[in-house]
Symmetry: C2
Amino acid sequence: MAQHFRLGIDLGGTLVKLARVDSQGHARGLLKIKTERDPVLLAKSLAQALKAWPRVSWRGTGVAVAGDVDPKQGVVRFAPNLGWRQLPLGKIFRQAGLPQPLFFDNDATAAAWGAYHAEFHDHINHLVVLTLGTGVGGGLVVEGRLVHGATGSAGEIGHMGVDPRGPRCSCGRRGCLEVYLGGSAMVRWAKRAWARAGKVPPGDITPRVLEDLALQGDPVAKKTWARAADALGSALANLVNIFNPEVILLTGGVAGGAPLFLPRALQVMRENAFETPGRAVKVKVSRHRSDLGVMGAALLVP
Amino acid sequence: MAQHFRLGIDLGGTLVKLARVDSQGHARGLLKIKTERDPVLLAKSLAQALKAWPRVSWRGTGVAVAGDVDPKQGVVRFAPNLGWRQLPLGKIFRQAGLPQPLFFDNDATAAAWGAYHAEFHDHINHLVVLTLGTGVGGGLVVEGRLVHGATGSAGEIGHMGVDPRGPRCSCGRRGCLEVYLGGSAMVRWAKRAWARAGKVPPGDITPRVLEDLALQGDPVAKKTWARAADALGSALANLVNIFNPEVILLTGGVAGGAPLFLPRALQVMRENAFETPGRAVKVKVSRHRSDLGVMGAALLVP
């Protein structure tokens, strides 16, 4: 009997991941190709890549995009890392013959859906996922449902205000969670702090390097993680008071720095959240840090 | 043919409201009785009050409580206005013969459910309700479902942090929305500001009096509403970025001051929220300011 697979596509700024997911929700193949920014070339390269899985019968395709997506229309409203605005990606992918029907969502929202199935096997009803990378993405599962919101824009937890007098965020607001915990913003802040202190940081700075430097006792690197911890703790308290989730899951590359920020963030969370939901929540670091987006994308297909 | 009614009970600190709601979700009778703080006496007074509706066949009872409620167990964990802690209200109400099955929830959560049905007739999927009274309560409807959370504690939007350096809230945290927009906190802040300015405010101060004084140009009263507006605007931006709701509804007595705070709050919201969800949301003041809780309580009965 023919297996019916779901196709997941996670469109990142440099790489596209494709996953073939079986009817039990397990990955049965993963591919990576270079991202073409021309959407027609991209669609062709995807159709070409799919030939790696011949004679597969598809139930449909789920697409996760790093940006603001209209899931109903299959339109990418704005994807800064891909250079797209108001792009009818659904139409382009249909014309290229990608398996239909097609479903679209934001990548962090898709990652939350992937985590819900892959890490918790649907055993919980209330999950918040924070994707800690260059920026801070978010996704919500509430009462067992993935939350899209009125225009598919829900889950922008990285742009929750933490301090109205804080540094300006790329979104224009002051003191978003992302200006403290986003990889780019952390590196920017640390470089400025070193410059003010008349020190030159060693080589290329990444969040990973900030981890090493903090472990070696560098005061600027330590302060960078402490600021991130305080901001995260405050944001976690908000999430606990508003959603009362069973689990808050941290994923993405910067989540690797959890030993440097999570203990303090949890302390701040407990000091600021209500007692009952504060005791009930588990804050965890994901075991699957890289494939939740593409898995969740595939699972957008019903 | 016998009609099957739902019974709604809204337990406030001074008054209890009872509503008889028909199968179409319309109120077919409303009663108010004095709140007995002894839960056994309260249950008896409710059973007595129900005799006003003889020969009614009941589908069940929904109970809204001003406090932290465990909906699954029917236990009131903490209700400061009623002086209750860890009270097995479900058991007491069952023993008093109130119509079963019994459903419990927080009053602001019930109000959100009441608003969803009464004001929007289920025509929207994503609703946030802020109940502006002595404190600031909240309730969420997401993807068409009332959000209870893992322990029934979801929706405490009044205890979202707005400013980490703000005044201390009754919950222990600094700078919650409630310290700027809650009726009690507004009155407290205004009295202190008048005292600092060496002025004695006229008579009893309530949020209603603060409205009148602001309209008459009193600088402290005007500042009280301006602070509330800024805090609300910031909280609205968070709600928009996280939930992407279709409607945010303001209800409760302090919502009457909306002309004094809403225009500025909306401006702050638009400056700080993402563009797509910020344009999509409608922020409204409820037409039914007092009965949403008891209606929502009745509608907790499936």
